[in-house]
Symmetry: C2
């Protein structure tokens, strides 16, 4: 398979975008990515979207958005893996370029979540869990992650104060991100004083409901070297793994096994380990999720995830920065777009364009995007390379 | 890219399967395909489904069905292109094998459409059209295809009697297919006497609402030669093209341009033309669709599609058999599964296992699956090859 690189990224301010439609939001990000890439067309496009049907009454998204872009008859493919739909769109686009099927491919994600009311949005999101064995009994995502949090607290002594530090750290990063939905700083005390949603998770432990899109352009690495002036974002690994749909079927609910499996494959393919990573963008849909994910990625030992934010390890100036973009928590979580926005952050950091949240000379980065309670995980590893073939 | 072959197929009786759930239907077909292939595992799976959200309140289908199969942590990917979701799943699975990313891949499709009432099903299906510019104004699919039929009749003199012959021909074929939902013969007179749905389309011009699934197993051609005793189904071409989402944006609504574009690419890739095809399985969601599609595929001249069924050209014993399986019209149309079921028919015909509807020594076959009013089309061409490398 051919080496593949990201040469353009597009993302706009996320939030409650009532004046814009699903297609408007997506098209804006897609055109920005194409302009940023400096190409005049794409050969194919992939879009990740969790539920166009339940959120906006629109399926057939590949064709609809290729048309919206004015680029029909190019193939437009929509993929779905709940909240990991964006990461999965990147993976399918990567395979399309790596295989030689297409040269210039747009990978994108979108979700318009605020056209329905809160109850309908909660229902739509719940379809990422097992409808017959979980949702039918009244479970929704705050409840599912609350159970995982309780299990982690019971097993490893993780505390609600430690979880509050995850939120505080990500909001501190998001405050430096002009595209973030909630770019305000919050203290751990404010998190602990926010309204309870599902014990032990409070409002500020939860990522928000968001409208947003993100897009990136992929090409073969050799083409990227010709088109690009600056540092190039090489995709060093792409991995995708699944786990049981229902929490009740798992041996342990305080761990994200699909992330561990995908990470193992990704590290092997990239030829690196967690110690080599300059930073990670991970799926902090709830504060406890970041704790479990950094353990699954091997950034910390199993059971040590709770201390990571509180100790400063995962801060922007820590030894292992996690979610420099602000993460889902502060940047927002338009479910289909999240996995692509993570890649936008990688490109911004590699190019030195991340402004106040810029890291010092990042070389390797990892993105981890997951669906449901981790029934699916998609992981990519990126390497910053120069224009010359020798790297 | 590597050559790819279909080595196993699975499909069950389609219909109103009230005693089975979405996951039951899918798992049965998937296990049948795996057993038929003679393999003990798959490395990845793809599923096409149009709207798990609106029909059964279940998204995250890749992870859910990989789990249901008992094969997690394999990657499970759901793709959607409305009624072409099955064809698109085949295409993505094909790319996964051709690229070398995976060796043994399940491509599948499923839709459980009868758990909601008729109005909800009509709404769910309408999300394959342009929600903001078509559905919002009250259009649903019978109305959209009725407009296309009127345009074709006006332009080429196509008659309602000719359309009735399409239904009659496909029911004659479906009567020989034990998996068909409506395996009864109908005469053109019965079609013309059936209730009007959207003038000029009557009830028997329309494909039904169906529960069903289908699955096939893909491997590299070289592996197929080792695993298979009989004829091998080589995928000679895979093509996917789009058109405008809304009918109003098209220069002509009596043609399916996305099919013509995809066909052009597919014939070129396979190195054959329409005259070489032993038979085709096409997307006859309404009788007029088959008429427009066989023109787009070059099986008949533009404007001559109406006569094809009435003259016997496309009959099982005609010069250009179309829809030997019974097509969507008689076999049923569980939208996500349709594109995969077409491939099951190709394999059955190539292996000589099509019973009463068996064609004489078929060598090349084409499947055409489309979404909406043709905003997306996916076409595959298959060649029957022997076990020996020389073919």
């Amino acid at each position: 398979m051919r080496d593949v690189a990201v040469i353009g990224v597009g993302m706009n301010k996320w939030g409650e975008l009532w004046e814009l439609s699903h297609r408007d939001i997506w098209t804006s990000a897609a055109l920005d990515a194409i302009e940023d890439a400096g190409v005049d067309h794409v050969d194919a496009m992939y879009v990740g979207c969790m539920s166009g049907g339940l959120f906006v009454g629109q399926e057939h998204l590949g064709a609809m958005l290729a048309d919206q872009l004015g680029m029909g008859p190019i193939p437009g493919t929509r993929v779905e893996s709940a909240c990991a739909s964006g990461g999965l769109a990147l993976r399918q686009a990567y395979l399309a370029v790596a295989s030689g099927a297409h040269d210039i491919v747009l990978a994108s994600g979108v979700e318009k979540m605020t056209d329905v009311d809160g109850a309908a949005a909660t229902y739509a999101l719940s379809t990422a869990a097992d409808q017959e064995y979980e949702c039918f009994h009244g479970l929704t995502f705050p409840g599912l992650y609350a159970m995982m949090a309780r299990a982690h607290m019971e097993r490893y002594g993780t505390t609600i104060e430690q979880l509050a530090h995850v939120a505080s750290k990500n909001h501190a990063n998001g405050a430096k991100n002009p595209n973030a939905q909630f770019p305000m700083k919050v203290t751990p005390e404010q998190v602990l004083a926010s309204p309870m949603v599902a014990d032990p998770l409070r409002l500020l432990d939860c990522s928000p409901i968001t409208d947003g899109a993100a897009a990136v352009v992929l090409v073969p690495l050799e083409m990227a070297r010709k088109l690009s002036d600056g540092p190039i974002v090489r995709i060093a690994a792409s991995a995708h793994a699944t786990d049981t749909m229902a929490l009740a079927d798992r041996a342990e609910i305080s761990a994200i096994e699909s992330t561990a499996r995908a990470a193992e494959q990704a590290y092997k393919a990239a030829g690196i380990g967690p110690d080599d990573l300059s930073f990670c963008e991970v799926h902090d849909c709830f504060t406890i999720a970041e704790v479990m994910v950094i353990e699954a990625l091997g950034l910390v030992e199993k059971g040590q995830g709770g201390q990571a934010a509180a100790s400063g390890l995962t801060a922007l100036d820590g030894k292992r920065p996690v979610n420099p973009s602000g993460g889902l928590k502060s940047k927002g979580h338009p479910v289909g777009a999240t996995g692509i926005a993570q890649v936008c952050e990688v490109a911004e950091q590699f190019r030195g364009g991340a402004g106040e949240r810029q890291l010092d000379d990042p070389h390797w980065a990892l993105t981890q995007n997951m669906g449901g309670t981790g029934a699916s995980s998609v992981i990519h590893i990126f390497e910053r390379v120069g224009r010359e073939a020798g790297r």
